[in-house]
């Protein structure tokens, strides 16, 4: 099983009591609490951590993108990929990912991902996501078009990468009279495509049909298995065989020299389960963004929100794994056996987890956990 290092690059540099005065940390928490001098230092620190993760042997570095929120100030996944493409040597760069529905120019996106693939020597894994509602508000994209735009944006990017230019694109949502990008990916026919899932059966089926790597995020095991079934259904329709390499899973994980230290560090993940997801449903799922079938699945999939769970419950449910390297390895093996996955994505830094703790966790993962996981 391959392991991936991931940080949301949080900006938790404000008094929590201030954030609690607003209906949500996303969209409404005023950006006067953004501290550029802290962010300047944090970006350096987060990039150092990614670089160490590459050096100690992580199979991949996962990057994501959000907007209008202190929970993630990685506001340009392709910018970060370009930097790490140059400063790292070996690990895959898993962009998970570019938020397709809010993108008005898929051709530019195709070029930027291609450039990151070229700079990194062909190490890009190109994840495509639908985004949460917050990004739809941020971009002011009509949520009722979310899935249509996701699929059409994807189709145009793939065509940019695989069809000779120049060509014309006159679609439902995208219109380009002259497509001829002079920047194409190194990997052929194109960088591998990944897709995350939290609740939409449609996305799982869509990914299965295309053989893309599909990664549920922080859902209970039974929900992940159900989503994988939808994925297999899509794969079967297309006559594809599903292997562990098609399936991944995302959890939060940290290790330390002692169990006590690891459990202490693991508490930082609670911030991303509750406070950063707090807010009206309209912010996260504006009208029409999810199909009504997707909504019904989401209701079943999340009988309890992560925000209502205690730290101990989050640990018991494998949403957070924190322990010594041996303990963490055992838990990872359990996840692998439970889900039959080939890729485990580790959100391995959060909130105010400090640099020293994060770096030590990365070192220990490299020394003890990654070699063990490789045999799983």
């Amino acid at each position: 099983m391959k392991l991936y290092y991931f940080s949301e690059m949080p900006h938790h540099e404000f008094p929590d009591a201030e954030g609690e005065k607003y209906p949500s940390l996303r969209l409404e928490f005023p950006n006067r609490f953004f501290r550029p001098e802290k962010a300047q230092a944090n970006y350096q620190r987060y990039l150092d951590e990614y670089e160490l993760a590459d050096q100690v042997g992580f199979d991949g570095l996962m990057l994501n993108e959000h907007h209008s929120t202190p929970s993630c100030v990685n506001v340009g996944v392709n910018m970060t990929a370009a930097i790490l493409g140059r400063t790292t040597k070996r690990a895959k760069l898993l962009l998970l990912g570019n938020i397709l529905p809010i993108e008005d120019n898929p051709v530019r996106l195709a070029e930027q991902i291609a450039m990151a693939d070229l700079i990194s020597g062909g190490r890009v894994l190109s994840g495509f996501v639908r985004g949460v509602g917050v990004e739809t508000w941020w971009a002011n994209t009509n949520p009722v078009h979310n899935r249509e735009r996701f699929e059409e944006c994807h189709d145009l990017i793939l065509k940019c990468w695989t069809a000779p230019g120049p060509f014309r694109w006159e679609g439902r949502h995208y219109h380009f009279r002259h497509v001829n990008p002079w920047c194409l990916p190194l990997q052929k026919p194109h960088p591998p495509v990944w897709t995350p899932g939290t609740a939409s059966p449609e996305t799982a089926i869509w990914a299965g049909r295309r053989g893309y790597t599909y990664v549920p995020f922080l859902v209970p095991f039974d929900v992940a298995r159900e989503l994988f079934e939808y994925y297999r259904q899509g794969a079967a329709e297309a006559g594809r065989t599903v292997t562990a390499d098609n399936l991944g899973f995302l959890i939060c994980a940290v290790t330390a020299d002692t169990k006590a230290k690891a459990l202490e560090a693991g508490r930082h993940f609670v911030w991303r389960m509750g406070p950063t997801l707090r807010g009206p449903v309209e912010y996260f799922s504006p009208v029409g963004m999810r199909s009504r079938a997707g909504q019904r699945f989401a209701m079943r999939a999340r009988p309890r929100s992560l925000a209502t769970m205690s730290y101990e419950e989050l640990v018991d449910g494998h949403f957070i794994i924190a322990g010594t390297p041996d303990e963490v390895t055992d838990r990872f093996a359990h996840v692998q056996r439970a889900l039959g996955i080939g890729h485990l994505l580790l959100e391995a830094q959060e909130s105010r987890m400090d640099h020293a703790t994060t770096m030590r966790s990365i070192e220990l993962m490299g020394a003890k956990v990654i070699p063990a996981a490789a045999g799983l």
Binding site: N140, N142, V281, E282, P286, V287, G288, R292
Partner: protein, 264 residues
């Protein structure tokens, strides 16, 4: 006057319609809250006019129109509806997004219509303030902001007094999706509509609630300035739903205007 429900097929879409009354035809276009049925003010107006109150595509029991992208599509659709229903040259009354639709129809084809009644229409960018972002709030929050004082609304209990059944909630969600489809960006207005409104010389009545927290009253002044033959009536102690909040006064205004002295 008994109302009846019927279906009229326009452009491949089945449009559910409440119809009733006798007299000159009056086409009534509902707001984003959907078609509330044969309510008190419609009953009163139908004593003098043949009222046609269709449910917009994508709402209630009307068919889907996922291809529509804006209110101009809905306006063209209802000009077609007038032909399909054989309404001749009707009066046109629209509320909120229905008012915007009515204004677009009048700007597209003024001679297809007699008189125009616009009730708290969106459609213009306010000179001051903003149109409330209705998608940013839950339906119960929004209802609280939509009306001025629920205790003064005679039909409150029958219209809003009970939590929606799952089926009603699903219909309401579908209506919100259609509203988003039609109005998302630019939000609730057409930057070019103001250029075309001076073409509309039809006698026009604009009605607003003084306490409207959804669409600023200043928009009423803007419509009045842009429409060459319009008057503005602002109802005191009234929010965004004059036909529901003050049904008797509203019905009287409409009847007086449509059948009023200017016509005799």
């Amino acid at each position: 006057m008994q109302a009846r429900e019927t279906t009229i097929r326009v452009g491949g879409i089945d449009v559910h319609v409440w119809a009733g009354g006798q007299g000159e035809p009056l086409l009534v276009l509902h707001g984003a809250g959907g078609n509330r049925g044969w309510t008190r003010w419609l009953q009163q107006v139908s004593e003098r006019f043949a009222v046609w109150a269709p449910t917009h595509p994508g709402f209630g029991r009307s068919g889907d129109a996922e291809w529509m992208d804006g209110i101009d599509d809905l306006a063209r659709f209802y000009l077609w509806f007038i032909d399909a229903a054989g309404l001749g040259r009707p009066h046109l009354l629209g509320h909120s997004i229905g008012g915007w639709t009515a204004a677009e129809m009048a700007a597209m084809s003024p001679r297809s219509l007699e008189r125009l009644v616009l009730v708290a229409p969106v459609g213009l960018k306010p000179d001051e303030g903003d149109i409330l972002d209705v998608f940013y709030y839950s339906p119960p929050q929004l209802l609280g902001m939509t009306v001025h004082d629920p205790t003064t609304i005679p039909e409150w209990d029958e219209l809003f007094g009970h939590p929606p059944t799952p089926e009603q909630a699903e219909i309401a969600e579908r209506g919100r999706e259609m509203t988003a489809r039609l109005t998302w960006k630019p939000y609730m207005h057409n930057p070019r509509l103001a250029r075309f409104l001076p073409r509309v010389t039809n006698p026009s009545l604009i009605v607003w609630g003084r306490e409207d927290r959804i669409v600023p009253v200043v928009c009423g002044e803007q419509y009045r300035r842009l429409l060459p033959n319009a008057t503005l009536t602002v109802l005191e102690r009234c929010g965004h739903l004059p036909p529901v909040e003050q049904p008797d006064a509203f019905a009287r205004l409409v009847i007086d205007f449509l059948g009023g002295s200017a016509r005799s």
